[in-house]
Assembly symmetry: C2
Homo-oligomer: 252 residues x 2
């Protein structure tokens, strides 16, 4: 029982040898909890206990989320309050690398599997638990062979109705090349090259988004290099540090 008046049940801690018997006991428990003003139930079913799932659906549990290894089901039992169980995470994070070299050239790629052959920024999705600046550096290296370091965030886009009805935030990181040669990823990348930025922004088939991102870069170079940069700040009980991004000045 947690501070929100909820009960959490884990399948691997239950005796599931006789599932019909277990379901009868569960029904009794649900009645008892309702009398005790419990509001909602979380039921985590491990992969090896999956035989239990059809029975839980029959007593009106609903799917909440799943990850490799388990499914989480929930049941809201309060009659007096609306369902207060929080949603599961529903945002993707992607990062694009805006890599400019000393000759004012931008690192651009063409994808192997794409509807149109456009010159795009290298980039990809964040791995679980990965900080966004690290994602940018990693993806640029994997896709192009160029090693970089983080300078600033240029901008980010919040997009809805993305995959599986989730939203997506695409962060564009300004990165400085620090080594390596162009060596495109064979699986994903068809072509990779350095291209003069003034030429890049004039490409006739450039999307409005890529044009805007490039303009953001030109703006910060003209406006005294105002940037969005992270600082490492302690969390509330000083057990770890988090990056907090805010505006500042950088030397380009």
């Amino acid at each position: 029982i947690n501070r929100y008046n909820g009960v959490t049940i884990k399948s691997e801690e239950q005796n599931l040898e006789d599932i019909p018997l277990f379901v009868e006991q569960l029904k009794e428990s649900l009645l008892k909890w309702k009398g005790e003003k419990i509001r909602g139930i979380w039921f985590q079913v491990k992969k090896q206990n999956s035989a239990l799932i059809p029975s839980l659906i029959e007593v009106n549990f609903e799917y909440h989320h799943a990850q490799p290894g388990y499914v989480m089901l929930t049941k809201w039992i309060s009659d007096t309050e609306p369902n207060g169980l929080p949603h599961y995470a529903n945002q993707y994070i992607g990062v694009g690398g805006f890599v400019v070299n000393d000759n004012n050239e931008l690192l651009v790629i063409q994808e192997k599997y794409a509807d149109r052959r456009l010159w795009k920024l290298p980039g990809g999705h964040a791995d679980p638990g990965e900080d966004l600046a690290d994602t940018g550096v990693r993806e640029v290296f994997e896709e192009t062979g160029i090693k970089t370091e983080f300078v600033s965030l240029l901008c980010f886009r919040h997009q809805h109705q993305y995959r599986f009805d989730c939203s997506d935030i695409y962060f564009v990181c300004l990165l400085k090349p620090i080594g390596g040669k162009i060596n495109p990823c064979q699986q994903e990348i068809a072509q990779c090259t350095w291209m003069n930025i003034e030429e890049y922004i004039k490409l006739p088939d450039l999307t409005e988004t890529l044009k805007h991102i490039t303009q953001c870069y030109l703006n910060i170079t003209e406006n005294g290099s105002i940037s969005i940069t992270p600082e490492r700040i302690n969390n509330y009980n000083n057990t770890c540090k988090n990056n907090i991004y805010s505006v500042g000045h950088i030397q380009l």
Copy 2:
């Protein structure tokens, strides 16, 4: 079959009257697909077909994600390539409202259910599909009764190992009050008040994060009001507009 050489199966389009027979047919199909260089399978099981899940787990399907109404299972069948199926969304988005009135006072709250009674910013999680600035305005109104409009993003924090092993981005929006009286949400909020900003930043029990956020506000007021503001930019095929946030100047 999609462009990544994957197969998608939907439970409601299958004949599931005889589940053991269906599983035998599925096993044959898996062997055939493997011969055809198919790389991975997506299997969406609707709630009403949940009886199928234990059989899919037996033939080594793995949980990918679930939402109210269905579970998505996957199976990677290529022997020659590593599992290339993308992860599900794993980021939460929360928004805090930094609401300052004409008297240089900040709108702060104390939560009803909290370990410590701290003066915090109002805010909460984004609803599915909701733009972050809208979340800030909505949450401030729900929690405090104050109506606001979006001015700028102040900063954001990227935090890992949050709920269910997901990450969380906490965006702090600078908002301008445009009406309403303080009327705290009875369920969630214990106290709500306007507090002078210079006094707020000196509170002895303020977390380092809240101090930093407040300092971000003081910095932008002193530095010619540099802000992080969105522009509406067309998507790649001009079917909708997305917000892209970048640095700019605002009038405070």
